[in-house]
Amino acid sequence: MIELREMPFDPWQYLAERQVSQGVEARSGAAAIFVGTMRDFNEGDSVQEMYLEHYPGMTEHQLETLAASALKEWSLDDVLIVHRIGRIIPTQPIVLVAVWSAHRAEAFDACRHLMESLKHSAPFWKRETLVDNSVRWVASNTPG
């Protein structure tokens, strides 16, 4: 499942509620999760907020493509990708990638691969507002 969210969310609360409704963790045996959170500094500067632009239509399509590709490559029970859009402030989660499988190696591999693919190919762009109110686009993601 893919979700773009304009509002802040707690990934653990999100997973707890999802677990109650779907029970996929119970069936699967292994869950590998990644959560990326906004920090209050980047490239040596203090950042007070961030705006996350996306490409409506393509962003969803690309995330769906990544999830479908992971489901095809590994033996998975489910894939969940949640990504924030819009205005984000430090300490807020930006991305949640969760993968459920009967096998822990597949869960780890798929989760990591999904995060790397998302970073390289999902159409999101970060615009940072520094503490002096100046604005800049993040030029590229950090490797690995």
Binding site: M58, H61, V95, K119, A122, F124, W137, N141
Partner: protein, 92 residues
């Protein structure tokens, strides 16, 4: 009736247009977010770039999507397609 005719004409017209989108820092640099190109035949992404951005050279780090799928400068675009140009992505 007039409304219906308008809707049909609109549909026909949009089929002969290529919708071009620019995102993020590229949109800010060009000062434009969307351009509708009028074309009756297939044209290359390279030509879409030239006609929509006003620049001859497509920068090497600009990414290209045709109908929400990654593509390249040599790809052919049909009337009715959506083409997007954007800088390296920085999500996650």
């Amino acid at each position: 009736m007039a409304f219906l005719l308008g809707a049909i004409l609109n549909g026909i017209l949009s089929i002969m247009l290529v919708k071009v989108l620019f995102f993020a820092s590229l949109r800010e640099r060009l000062g434009v977010g969307q351009v509708m190109l009028d074309t009756h035949e297939a044209i290359s992404v390279q030509e879409v770039w030239q006609r929509s951005s006003g620049e001859n050279v497509l920068p090497v780090n600009v990414l290209i999507a045709v109908n929400h799928t990654y593509s390249d400068a040599a790809a052919l675009v049909q009337p009715g397609d959506e083409v997007a140009f954007f800088p390296p992505v920085t999500g996650g």
